[in-house]
Assembly symmetry: C2
């Protein structure tokens, strides 16, 4: 068992800096595309054998130090009662977006074991096969709320902010229901065997710091607090975090994942030495020639070293489908080598 | 002549905080939509009488303290030799995106008076009618380069970063040509009568701080330095600025425009007391009920007061077409009243 990732997550000394990559099970891998040829995306998420298979691929192919459950952040949203479809063109589409009390009241707080059993089955399958730790995950409440209010992705999040600003009762009712869902969902994942869980706040960065403090952070804090007793460390990733770090510091998470649009040294200093930091190479930097990518990796390792309680290397956002797999392999090798792992050649 | 805006821009005492709104001449105004009914977007930009007419509308309707030239940031890109079209669905489309030396070499540095005379004519028309200062503008080099390399808008800016990382000669050659273009374009605007110019770096926020320092900022610095002798103050707006402020501080601009995803008090402290700050209400906050919008406006005014050399109120990004004009009027009134303007009732 390679437990370097978990040690780093607990702030313990590690022989090298562990790395995993957001969206590491994905379309940039030909082995993933082969699985997807025979099955649509939602079916893949809901078939434990296949979901486990693609979760394992990057561990075998890249040599990353952790696996992450293959799933979609909208799975619990569907379980709450919304109709979910994936369109090739527009991405996720949720019908009847939640912009009124009537629609809010139709939503339920699902029972993970009954309503999303395939997720826990995937986790159990993975745990029986993995030699690295397993990360479970959920979208954070604000991020899930944006999809539920917009009915899918968005550019300006105008509907979300309209509900948030003009119909605070509906907004906070929705955020509470989502938070309840996320708590039981992540608890079930941990009890099924996830060694840690990551909360993805992909869209929290579209809020002003003042709004983030009122409309997003309190729900994250509650989730983290209620999950503490499960004993698994919690990672909180915020995309577009640069203006929010002082507030994010109070989230209670064991580790904070940051995007690439902030200096990791500065972010670590703002977050303080009680927090492990995760990140933060620009996903597009995987296009760099190896020698220049090496400089960037070294720079991130140097800036993070000593500035935080610990460092887990990652991209600042998900890996893009256009990235050659060789470059992703190079990244993992570079992080390992440059941070002190003895490499057998 | 209401010169409150120019005084604030120079850091002088003003009786109240001036305000203008990015995209204040735009689709949220029925008077603008009426003009657009008879003419397509590019023709509007290129017809001085009409461009001047829509530039004047928000001054009359909202009572803002400055007018901004109505134009599009891609006008100089078209003048450099690229074919520009606007599609209702996809926004701007530039054919033959610049990803090779051959295409780069076909681009010219336009002569503003010969190749974009309508811009300077619009400015002269406006100056003969305006009772508030006039802002000229241009896209900043990195932002213009993204459109030229992507062939339009983008989500991940993968083509831009590919050229930037893998073909540095083409990237820097392009940035130099754009910078030369922007310098002569803004110089011509100032000489035609623009009282100040704003450089819009709408997409610089997609770069890591290290990349921003290498691939975007040096060109901005050169432009600002070369324009100093014209005597007009220069505003530099960076969208997604939160992680870049320490670098932006060195730009040489007289005023820095910031987006809403950063606390204006913190931003002002980072930028220091030699810089005027402009911003930074969330464009969606115009959806708020007036009493709550008032709190937000007051908060921004309070945070900016004394923290910078001066403050010009603005949104953190352009006003959205969905905003009721009454709410925009309320914003202008609130900024004026709360910052001390005596209002005749």
């Amino acid at each position: 068992m390679n437990d370097t990732f978990l040690k780093a997550l607990r702030g313990e000394e590690t022989p090298y800096t562990p790395i995993w990559i957001m969206r590491q099970a994905g379309r940039y891998l030909k082995e993933y595309r082969e699985v997807r040829e025979g099955v649509d995306f939602l079916t893949l998420c809901k078939t434990p054998e296949l979901a486990a298979k693609v979760s394992l691929q990057p561990v075998d192919i890249l040599g990353v130090d952790a696996a992450i459950l293959f799933s979609d952040i909208l799975i619990p949203v569907e379980a709450m009662g919304m109709k979910l479809e994936f369109s090739e063109k527009h991405g996720p589409v949720l019908s009847e977006p939640i912009r009124s009390r009537a629609l809010l009241e139709k939503l339920t707080v699902p029972d993970p074991e009954d309503d999303m059993p395939f997720v826990m089955e995937t986790i159990k399958l993975l745990k029986s096969q993995l030699k690295v730790p397993l990360i479970g995950f959920s979208g954070a409440p604000f991020t899930l709320a944006t999809y539920m209010i917009e009915g899918g992705g968005s550019k300006n999040f105008l509907f979300t902010k309209r509900v948030m600003y003009q119909n605070h009762g509906v907004f906070s009712g929705l955020m509470e229901k989502i938070s309840d869902t996320v708590i039981s969902y992540l608890r079930a994942q941990i009890r099924a065997g996830a060694d840690t869980v990551q909360l993805f706040d992909t869209w929290a960065g579209v809020l002003s710091p003042d709004d983030y403090r009122v409309f997003a952070l309190p729900y994250v804090k509650r989730i983290i607090k209620e999950l503490k007793s499960e004993g698994a460390p919690i990672i909180y990733f915020v995309n577009g975090c640069a203006g929010l770090l002082k507030d994010i510091k109070t989230s209670g998470a064991d580790a904070i994942g940051i995007d690439w649009r902030v200096d990791i040294g500065e972010a670590a200093r703002t977050l303080g030495k009680k927090t492990v930091i995760q990140g933060n190479l620009d996903p597009c930097a995987l296009l760099l020639p190896r020698e220049i990518m090496k400089e960037k990796v070294k720079d991130i390792l140097d800036k993070a070293r000593g500035a935080a309680k610990g460092h887990i290397f990652n991209l600042g956002h998900g890996i893009l489908p256009e990235i050659p797999v060789e470059n992703a392999k190079s990244l993992v090798e570079l992080v390992h080598e440059l941070s002190g792992k003895a490499i057998a050649r």
